[in-house]
């Protein structure tokens, strides 16, 4: 059975409209309910679904659609639309239902063609594999890893504190204390700051924090110097704690994409 281009295009558009409407109804997703292990289980199910779809690509229409060139173009158009939309917002709602579903569609489509590229081996196409797998890993770290990530802010002074606040304004407690022992701001002649520096004690260890020089407490948990609040005499130092347990997946994706970019430059287009 041959499916015509117009039917694919029409289906794509109808689905897009349905997802946008559903997004207006559902709105923001509550990421907390997807925290580990729920996200890992969902990701595993998603991967199983992709492998199954790929195995049945001859008989299942959805699988054939996802492997078609129309789906590739549609996937890229979605990516362009999402990023332009985000570019017009100050704080894009990236946990919105429509945004997440659209991103999952793109990831599914990329995963399907990556699988095909890998299975079609023969002369393995390294550029194709590295670029698509790298993108997939980077997106996966962002999407599946989002519920496990946290950005906390805290104000630190001479007295030991372990209390921080997350983006939503909820209190969170660290399992170690932070104390500020010394801090300094240097200025250029025209009055703009040239260096911020904070000497802090993290879990009984002396650490120097500067902008661009965070301190890694453990794998996936880093402390950043944000600024100084000179009005607050007791706790002048503003720190940020970032938890990103999926960091390794992101780095793997970024490294693969850089390798593919180098390959792309060296080899150029092949006919």
């Amino acid at each position: 059975m041959k499916i015509s281009v117009s039917r694919y295009t029409l289906t794509s558009l109808l689905l897009a409209v349905a997802v946008v409407v559903a997004g207006l109804v559902v709105g923001e997703l509550n990421l907390e309910i997807f925290a580990f292990p729920v996200n890992v289980i969902l990701m595993a199910l998603w991967l199983v679904m992709i492998v199954e779809l790929y195995r049945r690509r001859q008989s299942v229409v959805v699988a054939r659609y996802l492997l078609s060139s129309q789906a590739t173009i549609f996937s890229l158009v979605i990516s362009v639309a999402l990023t332009i939309w985000a570019g017009l917002q100050a704080k894009p709602a990236t946990t919105n239902f429509t945004f997440v579903v659209a991103l999952l569609f793109v990831m599914t489509q990329v995963a399907m063609v990556t699988l095909r590229g890998w299975r079609n081996g023969g002369g393995v196409r390294w550029l194709f594999l590295f670029s698509h797998l790298g993108l997939l890993l980077a997106l996966s770290a962002g999407v599946w890893g989002a519920p496990d990530s946290a950005v906390l802010r805290m104000k630190v002074g001479a007295e030991a504190v372990c209390e921080a606040v997350d983006v939503a304004g909820h209190k969170r407690y660290l399992d170690y204390d932070i104390t500020l022992s010394n801090y300094k701001v240097d200025y250029y002649d025209n009055g703009t700051p040239s260096e911020y520096r904070a000497d802090v004690v993290v879990a009984d260890k002396s650490v120097v924090l500067r902008v661009n020089e965070p301190y890694s407490v453990s794998y996936g948990e880093d402390i950043y110097l944000v600024s100084f609040d000179m009005a607050d005499k007791a706790r002048p130092c503003v720190l940020q704690i970032v938890r990103q347990p999926w960091r390794g997946v992101m780095v793997a994706g970024v490294v693969m994409l850089i390798v593919s970019a180098v390959l792309m430059f060296l080899r150029g287009p092949k006919r």
């Binding site: 158009v77 990023t83 985000a86 700051p193 970024v254 850089i258 430059f265």
Partner: protein, 257 residues
């Protein structure tokens, strides 16, 4: 000490020598002369950048004017390189024209006077991130102009456009990813949907769309050309357009305000 006040002299010499190279490049007889002139023009601009770097005592990559300076330079490098390597006769003319436009903008609207470097920009990632991006902008600019020329003049430019696109996208990718790695180090997150990041991603996907259209053998060159023009506009948005958006106030990427 060489500073911005000397720029018009260096710019005039660069533009004149590049123009000689561009004209010479259109004829097979004067090919060698063209190559020499194009590289000479590039060297003059490169010399100015080096002297300015020494004079400022920091990398000249921060203000809008400084990124334009690098763009002019990278355009000349990519023009000279593609001409020498593949003998595309029109490339030097395009590169010279665009490069001169940006030099003139820098003379007329010098948003360049600030010697300080804020703490967030004091990083080893700074120089590679900006210079790689500027080089990719130059290659992608050439690709777009050549694609438009191909459609207007009914001439087959596919091979040249695709080559420039591959180079441009490769550099763009590395620029964006070094940015992500730097963002992790400076702000804590690889990607935070800052307006500049979003427009960079939009530009990246638009150019990838163009490449995929070529790869999938899309029939219409006009469609690809249209995508490239939109991609180029998106690139301008990413480079300086975001500074004029209402969201610019909350952006972490505006350094020259």
């Amino acid at each position: 000490m060489i500073g911005w006040s000397e720029f018009p002299y260096f710019a005039s010499v660069t533009a004149l020598v590049a123009l000689v190279g561009a004209v010479a490049a259109t004829r097979e007889r004067t090919r060698r002369m063209a190559t020499v002139a194009l590289w000479l023009a590039t060297a003059v601009m490169g010399l100015f950048i080096v002297l300015l770097w020494i004079g400022l005592e920091r990398p000249p990559m921060r203000t809008m004017g400084e990124t334009r300076l690098w763009y002019s330079f990278c355009l000349l490098v990519s023009g000279a390189f593609t001409f020498q390597r593949w003998n595309y006769r029109w490339i030097p003319s395009f590169a010279t024209m665009l490069s001169t436009v940006f030099m003139v903008v820098n003379i007329l609207k010098p948003e360049i006077h600030d010697a300080t470097l804020m703490p967030a920009l004091q990083s080893a990632w700074f120089v590679p991130h900006v210079s790689i991006y500027m080089f990719s902008y130059a290659l992608l600019g050439c690709a777009t102009m050549l694609a438009v020329y191909g459609v207007v003049a009914h001439s087959d430019m596919d091979r040249a456009v695709e080559r420039l696109l591959y180079g441009g996208i490769a550099f763009f990718t590395v620029g964006m990813l070094t940015g992500a790695l730097w963002a992790k180090q400076a702000w804590g997150e690889y990607w935070s949907w800052d307006a500049k990041e979003s427009w960079a991603a939009a530009t990246w996907f638009l150019y990838l769309l163009a490449i995929h259209l070529y790869r999938l053998n899309a029939k219409s060159r006009k469609t690809i050309c249209a995508v490239l023009v939109v991609a180029f506009l998106s690139l301008q948005m990413c480079w300086y357009g975001v500074n004029y958006l209402p969201t610019a106030k909350t952006s972490v990427h505006t350094y020259n305000k």
